[in-house]
């Protein structure tokens, strides 16, 4: 595509990787050739780089698509998800899911990124609610201190929680940092 089509949020293919334009600046220094100065984010690794195109140049649009899918199960083929619309099932290898596997609750809805029709990444909801399956006994009334203890959630993942949290409590977790956010009263 012609670089004049570049905009913020455009998806661009560079060196075999999909990138999204996160910052975009069109300039014509000294009445010369127009320059399209972009900050690009690798849609798989998150790495950010600067790239400038000149007017008249072409860029390759990245064939990327985000699909809403539901997590079904894990077996020797990896993590299997189902497309919410087509019911098609796709298995994602362990290395694609990576650390996010700690938050894969049964039937959780996620965005799966497809690049050239291959799944390349998973985006979880930014916050999820999980149940504490194991932790030391709660310390009644201690809601004021910053002291924490280790607790295990239903996926087997361990997180740090405040001392008042008890087994069976539901807690909100930030999936981007893995940090405890708050207790959910039920």
């Amino acid at each position: 595509m012609d670089v004049s089509e570049l905009r913020k949020n455009a998806k661009v293919q560079l060196d075999g990787h999909p990138y999204v334009v996160v910052e975009f600046l069109f300039v014509k220094p000294g009445k010369g050739q127009g320059l399209y100065k972009c900050k690009l984010k690798n849609m798989i690794t998150g790495a950010v780089l600067d790239r400038t195109w000149r007017s008249g140049e072409k860029f390759d649009p990245a064939n990327v698509e985000s699909r809403k899918m539901q997590y079904l199960f894990k077996d020797q083929n990896g993590f299997t998800f189902m497309d919410n619309e087509s019911y098609e099932q796709v298995a994602l290898a362990d290395e694609i899911v990576g650390d996010d596997s700690a938050f894969l609750l049964d039937q959780i809805s996620v965005d799966v990124l497809f690049y050239n029709d291959r799944p390349v990444g998973v985006t979880l909801p930014s916050h999820i609610v999980m149940t504490i399956t194991e932790c030391e006994p709660g310390v009644k009334g201690d809601t004021a201190t910053n002291a924490t203890k280790s607790a295990t959630v239903e996926t087997g993942h361990k997180i740090q929680v405040p001392l008042f949290i008890r087994e069976g409590d539901k807690v909100k977790i930030d999936t981007r940092t893995g940090a405890y956010v708050e207790r959910i009263n039920t």
Partner: protein, 334 residues
């Protein structure tokens, strides 16, 4: 200056600021005795300039500037004239560019740029004043010569009449590399086109790497005495053949105006247009039609100087904003 806020103006404020600015511009020119004209927007041909791409409007093109039409009026005895023109340049979209914008363009008789640069300063002040932001108008204007500011920023000592190879040899490595890269696809172009290509690439890279940073430390700046290959539609200085009588005006790092002592030699103007068309072919673009009617009448053009000022940019500055879209009356969805 430099007091900017984020976000677009509310609609009533936009209408108010455009009304105030247009009234200030028109009032200034009437005080100065210039007549207002309005020339056609759909044309058979436009001025052929590097990297200014017209939008097709079959069977013609939308005006990229009112320049050729206004010069033909001058040839027919209009006397000093001004226009607030709608102009169109394809694929110029960004915070400080829009495919459609307003050029205030005016011509005075006499081969002298100085009165036009004084006009620019007065118009900038009047528009800031009329829009209630007088305190933020540039307080100082300075005039710098192209050669001097090139030498002081990047160390290159240029005369202005170097060909592509001599220019490359005179530049520091980072700039020379840009020129060499620009020349690579033009090995079979003729020397005039290669010289134009080299100087255009140099000016662009130098602006990007050096001049824009330099400009940000200054309020109002007139860049004068351009090198001959960047003369565009300006005359070459009679005493110094390396220089063209062209000027660019900048406010706080933003270019707002570009003017010429107008070239009146049709053969020379035709050669320049042809060189630009060669440059366009090097970039894989179609040649633009040459306006033979304009060239045919050019010998009758009285000695004059003209300049064009980007009104959308001036209003953006006066509103203390950074994006044309923050003050634009474009309603979207068009």
């Amino acid at each position: 200056m430099t007091q900017t806020e984020l976000g677009g103006l509310a609609w009533p404020a936009r209408v108010q600021i455009w009304d105030a600015a247009l009234a200030a511009v028109r009032g200034y020119f009437r005080d100065q005795g210039l007549r207002e004209v309005s020339t056609p927007v759909r044309l058979r041909a436009v001025a052929v300039e590097p990297f200014i791409d017209p939008i097709a409007a079959p069977p013609g093109l939308l005006a990229t500037s009112p320049e050729l039409a206004m010069k033909r009026l001058l040839t027919r005895g209009s006397g000093p004239i001004f226009q607030v023109a709608h102009v169109f340049r394809r694929a110029e979209v960004g915070a400080r560019h829009s495919e459609e914008f307003h050029l205030v363009e005016w011509y005075r008789l006499g081969a002298d740029l100085d009165p036009l640069l004084a006009d620019v300063e007065a118009i900038v002040e009047r528009v800031f004043d009329a829009t209630g932001t007088k305190g933020h108008a540039p307080k100082t204007w300075q005039r710098v010569r192209f050669r001097d500011v090139v030498a002081s920023t990047c160390g290159a000592r240029l005369r202005g009449d170097e060909d592509a190879e001599a220019l490359t040899a005179a530049l520091p490595p980072a700039l020379a590399a840009e020129v060499v890269a620009a020349l690579a696809p033009a090995h079979d172009a003729d020397p005039a086109a290669r010289t134009l290509l080299a100087w255009t690439a140099f000016f662009s890279a130098w602006s990007d790497m050096f001049f824009e940073t330099w400009l940000k430390g200054h309020e109002g700046t007139h860049l004068v005495e351009f090198p001959r290959p960047l003369a565009a539609l300006a005359v070459v200085d009679a005493a110094d053949r390396g220089l063209a009588r062209r000027a660019e005006c900048h406010v706080g790092g933003l270019e707002i105006a570009n003017g010429y002592v107008e070239l009146r030699d049709p053969a020379e103007q035709r050669r320049r247009f042809a060189a630009v068309n060669q440059l366009r072919r090097v970039h894989g673009e179609a040649a633009l039609p040459i306006d033979d009617d304009f060239l045919g009448e050019l010998p009758g053009l009285p000695p004059c100087a003209g300049i064009a000022l980007g009104l959308d940019r001036l209003i953006t500055l006066a509103a203390g904003r950074t994006r044309l879209a923050d003050v634009s009356l474009a309603l979207g969805g068009a």
